[in-house]
Symmetry: C2
Subunit: 202 residues, 2 copies
DNA sequence: TGGCAATAGATATAAATTTTTCGATTGCTC
DNA sequence: GAGCAATCGAAAAATTTATATCTATTGCCA
């Protein structure tokens, strides 16, 4: 089903969604208009949108509200998903305070850290638990997603732990490639590497 | 030159670099060994590495130290680049405190914010300036890179400002597509969208 | 010293992705 | 109502990217 969509297409869907949400005027919008606004080809836009349930009308385009709904539906914004954060350092706290996850139906329910000064505190209204109790808490919370904001040196250990607690999807900010069994999906965001790549681009 | 490399290849280079740096044993390493460790095809590894100046030896592989040097050279880790951050919120502060940028020759030299409580403070040893003085300071500092950690509502304005100050490369964390003239490269990291994409994947 | 096996690098093939082209539909204007 | 133009959606072509194959080299072992 969703495995048929190219990852590149999937990655563009939130871009469409953001753009459509930013529009104030209701009514219809054509793939050409979206393409021009986003600097891409209009056929590509249509093909991407075709993966969702959105239907366009000839000579008119897509109803903006319907298109947003279709994108949100496809991206699972309507079913609530729990996520936990490992590492309540600056980055972890930033994500705990960030309120943009709810747009996608994602709720950060807790963070874990090994620093006793942080354990027991709340950030953005979410509790920081001791990583020692992670296994127990993970079983209790049964989150769908885990976000790793821990140092690279311990990222693999933490990943192993969350995987053993049946978390199959990991967003990893540590600059290290995580080994994971089949069925587990790891997605990496290496901010420094991103800056370096940007700098390398002509 | 560097425009010939596929972005996908470019994005893998830091992965190789991280892996090679994580190895303790010196000596030679083959493309096959790298491929197995990273779960990819060995031909792809060789093709990627061929974009750098690295040379492998038949029946032996690549000298690890040389390969690291070649990757660092290609990624520009050796020429120092200044970067500034806009928005000294949690995320901005996290990046100011992060010391992983130096691996790529990137130095965060300052941040800008419009919150008077933050202006004048230091985070990770770097000053937070008033965004009102940004134009003057940017001319003074002449950074190569700008990182936007500001709310989506003002991201375009901030982008316009840094572009007008001759910053051509922007890493944008705000969930909005930035318009920029030709010659300016914008790279986006939408953390919430990344989590949603991860969640959507099978 | 000869043969074998592993390896890089080049070439060729295959797969995936994007762009182009096309046909059908439909709203709009005259 | 007829023609036009814009649009979607599908099909085809082209491009890009990844994988497989091939060739030459070379270290290693008998």
């Amino acid at each position: 089903m969703k495995s048929d969509i190219p990852v590149t297409s999937l990655q563009r869907l939130p871009v469409y969604l953001n753009y459509l949400k930013s529009l104030t005027s209701d009514g219809y919008i054509s793939s050409g208009a979206i393409a021009r606004a986003l600097g891409m080809g209009e056929v590509l836009v249509r093909k991407d949108l075709a993966f969702t349930s959105a239907q366009g009308r000839t000579r008119v385009g897509y109803l903006r509200t319907e298109l947003i709904a279709a994108l949100e539906d496809y991206l699972g914004c309507n079913d609530k998903k729990k996520a936990v954060i490992f590492g309540a350092g600056e980055l972890g706290k930033a994500l705990m305070s960030y309120n943009g996850f709810s747009n996608y139906g994602i709720e950060i329910v807790a963070a874990f850290d090994n620093d006793s000064a942080k354990v027991g505190t709340y950030v953005g209204g979410k509790p920081v638990f001791d990583v020692e109790n992670a296994t127990k808490k993970l079983v209790e919370l049964s989150p769908r997603l885990a976000v790793l904001c821990v140092p690279a040196s311990v990222a693999q250990d933490v990943a192993d732990k969350v995987i053993s607690c049946n978390v199959k999807k990991i967003l990893n900010f540590a600059p290290v490639l995580l080994r994971a069994e089949d069925g587990v999906i790891v997605r990496n965001i290496d901010v420094a590497a991103n800056l370096a790549i940007l700098s390398s681009m002509i």
